[in-house]
Amino acid sequence: MPEARGKQISLELSGITKVYPGAIALNKVSLDISGGEVVGLIGENGAGKSTLMKILGGAIQPDEGRILIDGEVVSALTPSRAAGLGIAFVHQELNPFSNLDVTANVLLGREIRKGILGFVDRVAMERKVQPILDLLGTRFGPKDPVSDLSLADQQLLEIARALSINVRLLILDEPTSSLTISETRRLLEVIAKLRTDGVAVLFITHRLTEIVEVADRVVALRDGRNAGELDRGQICKDRMVRMMIGRDVGKFYEKADHVPGRPVLRVKGLRTRAYPHQAVELCLHSGEISCLAGLVGAGRTELARAIFGIDPVEGGEIEMDDKVLRGNSVPEAIAAGICLVPEDRKAEGLFLDFAILENIAMPSHAALSRRGFVDVGAETRLADDSRTKLRIKASSLDRAVAELSGGNQQKVVLAKWLAMNPKLIILDEPTRGIDVGAKAEVYHLMQQLAGQGVALLVISSDMEEVIGISDRVAVMCRGRISGILNRAELTEESILRLAVE
C-alpha cells in the first residue's frame, strides 16, 4: 500500500443488540478481531451478518451493546467516523457510479485538489490509484469508464476503493459471489497479503471453501446470536455447516438419476446481440438438469435472455415443443412454458415494496382473473400453497418482499414461476448470495422438478454447484458453446479447460 499504516487495529464488539419491528436482527452478539488476522463470518441469510456489518461500518446504530476500538469505547459510530478509524467496507451490492471512470470512483469524496481554486488533480489521483489496481491485478486501468466494467471488475473496483483509505480493518461482504475462479484466487491472495501487512480482514461468504483456504478463525451467527467459533486447526466444512444451521445437512448435493425425456427446447443457430457472430446450438430435454457453465461474460445470461424473449435476437431459431417462437416476446415465451429466474433478483425478479402475495401472483394475474377482475381468493390460495410448499419464512403474505432474507426472496421468485406450471425453467445464478440451508432447499426443489419432467437450465459460476447438480453441462466461451460434458466427464478441470480455451 502506498500510505504509511497506523498501528494495528483491535476491535471488540460485545452484547450488540439490534431490533427491527417484527424481528430481532441481533441478540447480544460478540465479535473481536485484531490486525493481521483474517476472520470468516458465516451464517445463513437472516442470521444477522449484514446487520452486524452495518453497525461496524457506522451505517446503523445498535440498540444495545458496546463497541471497543483500540481499547476505547466508541459510542456513536458514523460512516465517516468508521472511515477515520480505518474501517473500510466492501458491500455485497455493487453501486459504482457508472458515469465516472475508475479513478473518480475509487477516490470519490476524497479527490486530490490543487491550486487555490481547488481543481481536481487528475494526475495525482491516477498516480495514487494505479498501485492499488496493480496490487489487485485488475484488467482495467485508472482511466477506464466504469460503465464498461463487468460485474467482477466492479467488485474489484469496490475493493480498490476500500483499500484507497488508510485501511486497518477491511470488511468484505460476499466479495466473491460474482467473481470467476481465477479472480477469486487473486482476491484470496490479496487478502493473505493484507494480513501480512497487519490489516484485519473480516470476510463474509457463503463459499465455505474460501474460508477453509484463507481464514485464521471463523465466527458463526445463527438467528441473530453467536453460534460458535472455530480456530484455524478446527476449520472444516462440516463443522461450519453444523454451526450455521444447528444440525447436519446430510448430503448437500443430492443427485437423483433422471432419465432424460423428449426434447423440449431446441435452439438453432441463435445469435445474440452480445455475440452477433456466434451461432449457438442447444437442445434441452424434459426431466434433465443442464448447466450452462463458463466465465462471467461468456454470453450465458444473454443466451437466457434471448430464449426468454427479453432481448431481440440477431438470427437463428428458438423452437419450443416443435413450435418456432417469433422471439422477443416474454408473454409468448411464458405461454410456451418457459420461465426465467433472473440473475438480478432485486431489480428483475421482484417488486421489493410489494407484498409477497402480489409478487407470487404477478405472472398469474391474468390466468386467475375472472373477466379481467382480479380473483383475490384464488391468488391467496396460490400464494399460501407456495409458501407451504417452498417453506417461505414470512409472518404474513402481506409483508413486503424487501423484508425477507435473500433465500426467502429467491423462493418467492421461484414460487411465482412454479404457479405457471412451466416446461422449462432457466435459472440464472439461482443460489448467488443465499445461505446454505436455502441452497439445499433450492437444489432439492430442482431435483424434484426434474423428476416431474420439467427441463431445467441452470447458469452457474459455482463449480461445485455445477458438478453437484447437473446431468449435462454445456460450457460457453466467448459467445459460443465450446463443449458439452456428460455427468461422467464432469470435473473442475474439464469444465475450466472448455471455458478458457
Binding site: 417484527g22 416474454v330 421489493l352 415494496d353
Partner: protein, 330 residues
C-alpha cells in the same frame, strides 16, 4: 380505504368544518352546488392524470388538450353546424389519437414522458390559438342545444351533472385500478418496469393504454369545460390544469416515482383543493393568494405524511425493543 386516505378524509372534513364555522355561507345550497360542480369538472382530468402518474409517467399537456379540443368542439358546432353528437365523436377520436401518440413516443421512441408531454403542452396550445386566430371560439348568440346542455351542464335533483359524471368515472376508475388485472399491471409497471417485463407483462402496451385512458378522460373533461364556459379563449382556457391534476394526485397519495396511489385519494385530493379555492373566496383572502394557499397546503400535507410514517417507524421500533426486554425478564 388505505390509512393515507383516512387521514386525507379527516383533513377534508375538518377544513370544511372550519370554513363552515367561519362563514356559514359555505353550506348554502348555491355555494355547495357550485363547489360540487367545480369538483366534478376538475376531478375528471385529475383522475386522468392519476392513471399516468401511477405508471411513473406524467402528463403535462392536459390543460392545452382541454383548450384545443374545446375550441374544436365549439367551432364544429358553431361554425360548421355539425350536430353535437358528431362533434363529440370527433373530439373523443382526437383525444384517443393524442393518447396513442404520446404512448407511442414514450414506449417505441423511448422518449421521457416529461419531455413528450411538455412539447404537447406547447404544441396543442399553439395550434388552438392558431386555429381561432387567437380569437375566442363561442356559440353564436341565441343558439341552443337543450339536450347537450342538459347532459353536460344540467342538474338532476340539484346535483350538477359534472358531479354525476365524475362520480361514475371515479367508480369505474376505482374498479379498473384496484380490482382488475390491468390495474395490477399499471402498479407493477410503475414500481419496477424491468421486473414487470420479466414477469411477462407487455409493459409498452400497458403504458400506451394508460396514456390513451388519460387522454380519453381529458377529452370528456374538455367537453364539460367548453360547455361550462360556453366560449373558449384558447390562450387562457385550461391553463395550469395539468398542474392542478398532478397536485390532486400527489395530495391523494400518488408518488411521482410510480406504483403508489389510490382513486379514493385523488378524489379526496380534488375535493380538498376545491374547498381551499372556496375558502379563499369565502374568508375574504385576496384571490391573488389562491395558488399560494394551495401550494402551502400541499406542501404541509406531504411533510405531515413523511413525518407520520417516520414516527410510526420509531414507535414500532420501540415497541419491538420493549417486547424483547420483556420476554427476557420473564
Amino acid at each position: 380505504m388505505q390509512k393515507k386516505d383516512i387521514g386525507l378524509a379527516t383533513l377534508v372534513v375538518s377544513v370544511g368544518a372550519i370554513v363552515a364555522m367561519v362563514n356559514p355561507r359555505f353550506l348554502s345550497p348555491i355555494n355547495l352546488a357550485n363547489t360540487a360542480n367545480l369538483i366534478g369538472l376538475f376531478g375528471l382530468f385529475s383522475i386522468a392524470e392519476a392513471f399516468v402518474i401511477v405508471t411513473a409517467g406524467i402528463e403535462l399537456s392536459i390543460g392545452s388538450v382541454i383548450a384545443l379540443l374545446g375550441v374544436i368542439f365549439v367551432d364544429l358546432i358553431a361554425s360548421f353546424n355539425v350536430p353535437w353528437p358528431m362533434a363529440l365523436a370527433v373530439v373523443m377520436v382526437l383525444s384517443i389519437f393524442i393518447g396513442l401518440l404520446h404512448g407511442w413516443l414514450i414506449t417505441r421512441l423511448k422518449l421521457q414522458p416529461f419531455v413528450v408531454t411538455l412539447c404537447g403542452l406547447l404544441i396543442y396550445r399553439g395550434v388552438a390559438r392558431f386555429y381561432t386566430k387567437d380569437g375566442t371560439a363561442g356559440f353564436t348568440f341565441g343558439s341552443d342545444f337543450p339536450m347537450l346542455e342538459f347532459l353536460v351542464s344540467g342538474r338532476t335533483a340539484g346535483v350538477p351533472h359534472s358531479v354525476v359524471a365524475f362520480g361514475l368515472v371515479a367508480i369505474v376508475a376505482w374498479f379498473l385500478l384496484h380490482r382488475t388485472v390491468f390495474g395490477r399491471h399499471l402498479f407493477a409497471v410503475g414500481k419496477n418496469v424491468e421486473a414487470a417485463r420479466y414477469s411477462g407483462i407487455d409493459t409498452d402496451r400497458v403504458i400506451i393504454q394508460a396514456y390513451v385512458l388519460c387522454a380519453f378522460l381529458t377529452g370528456i373533461s374538455a367537453v364539460f369545460f367548453a360547455m361550462y364556459t360556453r366560449s373558449v379563449q384558447p390562450s387562457s382556457h385550461g391553463n395550469f390544469y395539468e398542474l392542478y391534476g398532478i397536485a390532486a394526485a400527489v395530495l391523494g397519495g400518488f408518488s411521482l416515482r410510480g406504483g403508489e396511489g389510490s382513486i379514493v385519494g385523488v378524489v379526496l385530493g380534488v375535493i380538498l383543493l376545491q374547498i381551499l379555492q372556496n375558502l379563499v373566496n369565502l374568508l375574504g383572502i385576496p384571490s391573488s393568494l389562491n395558488f399560494a394557499v394551495m401550494g402551502s397546503v400541499i406542501l404541509a400535507g406531504v411533510i405531515a405524511d413523511t413525518q407520520f410514517s417516520r414516527y410510526r417507524e420509531v414507535r414500532r421500533q420501540q415497541m419491538a425493543m420493549a417486547a424483547l426486554q420483556d420476554s427476557e425478564q420473564r
